[in-house]
């Protein structure tokens, strides 16, 4: 044992309460605090969501391998955490995602192709956040949690909490990873949200890794307990159980909408793939850990449950698989067709209002750029990379 881990640390894996409604084996179990009325249509539609987002994710990974994307951050293994929570949202609720929330984006009707723009390098987001109530992806770890707390303070000021009107009362949800919990910003977000009792749900996907750094390096106790230090409830949920995630998130969002303040949800899950396509996890984690988590797959358990309970059969599963393949094919097709932005686009939207320096640089750039296009004025230099 090295210094760094010396002393009497409580083990992070201490048995601690975790909300589960569907076991890895596909067994439906009850939880006293989270009654759950199974609705077959809903479960089937969630199954579809899970399969589709996994399929798109795989396609994006393939596109990256083929050089069509610069990088891709896979959600593999975290589908239930994302679909379960996002399907608990009301249309007026507002979402602040990280860079891995492709499943949440799906539920907020952001087209998967649109989502690829950032990773392909043709834009820095590409969707209108206000149209989807789904903010841009935030890459700087933790920064978005403060935006969520502030947005929620705005919701309060609009009187859109605690009215009892389900179309009006609004909650905000901030997604972030286990690694993010170490950031100052995230803890400041806890401070602001708790002292102002803001209607925000802090949804932490503990996928056990922050790139190569295991969760034990971010906390020595289970993460959901962080909230108790700030005076609001924290709960750990089986992040691979779409039913439980949905139930727990729904309760937290309702609480927020009623004006009862923030909740911290730790969705206990696992990053099955690499951190991103640039990463090689074999350098830092053992295959056995991944194998163990394979047995807890979020889709497999729902499929078993749907099949065993007779809510869905082979034909349904085959239809979804086919739809997934079709979707993937469309995503691939449209991704390849995504145009590069016009060069001078980089001078647009730096500011809303006119700005002389940007205008001057744009004008210079356009003249300069044209000098390559026009053979009469082309300079003699060897490499005209801009032409």
């Amino acid at each position: 044992m090295t210094l760094a881990t010396a002393g009497s640390l409580p083990a992070i894996a201490d048995p601690c309460p975790i909300v589960q409604l569907l076991t890895p084996e596909g067994q439906r179990v009850d939880h006293p605090d989270y009654p759950f009325d199974v609705d077959a249509d809903q479960l089937r539609s969630w199954y579809r969501d899970l399969v589709l987002v996994r399929r798109v994710d795989a396609e994006a990974t393939a596109l990256q391998r083929q050089g069509e994307l610069g990088i891709w951050a896979s959600l593999l293994g975290q589908e239930a955490a994302q679909i379960g929570s996002a399907r608990a949202l009301a249309p007026q609720d507002y979402v602040f995602p990280t860079y891995r929330e492709h499943g949440v984006a799906w539920c907020r009707d952001v087209d998967p192709v649109t989502l690829l723009g950032l990773f392909r390098g043709v834009n820095l987001g590409g969707w209108d956040p206000t149209e989807h109530n789904f903010h841009l992806y935030t890459i700087v770890i933790g920064a978005q949690t403060l935006h969520a707390a502030g947005y929620a303070m705005g919701v309060q000021r609009d009187g859109a909490v605690g009215t009892g009107d389900p179309d009006r009362d609004t909650a905000v949800i901030a997604y972030f990873g286990d690694g993010a919990t170490a950031q100052g910003d995230v803890n400041e977000a806890f401070v602001f949200a708790s002292v102002f009792n803001a209607p925000v749900v802090f949804f932490c996907q503990n996928n056990h890794w922050a790139i190569s750094v295991p969760n034990e390096r971010q906390t020595r106790i289970p993460l959901y307990r962080r909230a108790s230090g700030f005076g609001f409830p924290g709960v750990r949920v089986d992040g691979n159980d779409v039913l439980a995630v949905n139930a727990v998130t729904r309760a937290a969002l309702d609480r927020a909408r009623r004006g009862e303040g923030p909740t911290f949800i730790e969705a206990f899950t696992y990053r099955m793939g690499a951190h991103t396509t640039s990463d090689d996890p074999t350098r830092y984690r053992i295959a056995a850990e991944v194998e163990e988590w394979k047995l807890k797959d979020p889709i497999a358990r729902l499929k078993v449950y749907l099949a065993r309970s007779g809510m869905a059969g082979e034909e349904f599963f085959a239809r979804i698989d086919a739809e997934a393949d079709e979707l993937a094919a469309r995503v691939r097709r449209e991704c390849l067709a995504m145009p590069d932005p016009a060069p001078s686009a980089m001078f647009e939207h730096v500011y809303h209002e006119p700005h002389p320096l940007v205008d001057e640089e744009r004008a210079w750039f356009e003249t300069y750029h044209r000098s390559f296009a026009d053979p009469a004025t082309t300079t003699a230099h060897a490499e005209g990379s801009l032409s």
Binding site: G125, P129, T130, A143, M153, F192, L357
Partner: protein
Amino acid sequence: MTTESRGPAGHVPLRPLSHATGAATAPAPAPNGHHAGPGTTTMTIARAINSGLRRAMDEDSKVLVMGEDVGRLGGVFRVTDGLQKDFGEDRVIDTPLAESGIIGTAIGLALRGYRPVCEIQFDGFIYPAYDQIVSQLAKMVFRSAGTVRLPVVIRVPFGGGIGAVEHHSESPEGYFAHTAGLRVVSCSTPQDAYWMIRQAVHSDDPVLFFEPKRRYWEKGEVDPDATPPPLHSARVLRTGEQITVAAYGPMVRTVLDAAAAAEPDGTSIEVVDLRSVSPLDLDTLEESVRRTRRLVVVHEAPMFLGAGAEIAARITERCFYHLEAPVLRVGGFHTPYPPSRLEEEYLPDLDRVLDAVDRALAF
């Protein structure tokens, strides 16, 4: 200018704010020397900002004020005095003690449609919010391809000369001027303070609003009904023939004093109040330098990679064949801000300005 007026009907809308080009380079009014309207009163810079904020809040219920001690106390400089009493705790928010939290939540509030005016209590305490300012606030409009608006104002009492302990006398504007997506301005008179804070609040872009704290208690006339020049325009405050001296914020008064002191010696100094550090109104400055053929730039901030360097580089490029001397700079040294008993030596003053003027004239 795309700001929609969200306030009650009937208030006089502000003129276009952001066109530095085409600014008033014609014979400019001396500070507060404009034609005084009937509502003109004399007040301090601190009070002028307070009045401007009050009017902005009156006109638009989405305008919020937030920061440490801005509510009950009215700010450590009393700039927000009385606002919480009149506009309530929901619009004038005493925040927890966390600058990143202040700016980060202001961004969220802006995304929800609010127009937060954040106070950073002192210049030296803005750094914990740096990521939220330069990586979040500054870039979000660009990242969203213009689909979101971030009308956030960050008020920063800045600069030295008040005998304070460390971290209370800094001039960090260069760190923000180097950042695309931010606008950086500073006022030097009560009238400008009143105008410019309102224009900053009306701007749909984030604005860093640097307040010359050692000038807070200097008085001048404020005509609330006068029409302001564009937010990012420089102003010639004093015409002169031999050399142009440009400054902003607290150094404007110093430079005006230097120009007055030099006159009896026969040195004719033109004084330009830059008013905006980003963008710079280079047209106004260029026009002046083409006439005077010499330029000195003065700021309290460290010279090394400061705004003066940028001005020197650009004016030299624009006026290469007109300049009789290199652009000289008077500014902070490459040291941390010293203990206050040394600040008189550290800060540019009348003599240091005139020393640079002499050196430029000697070329």
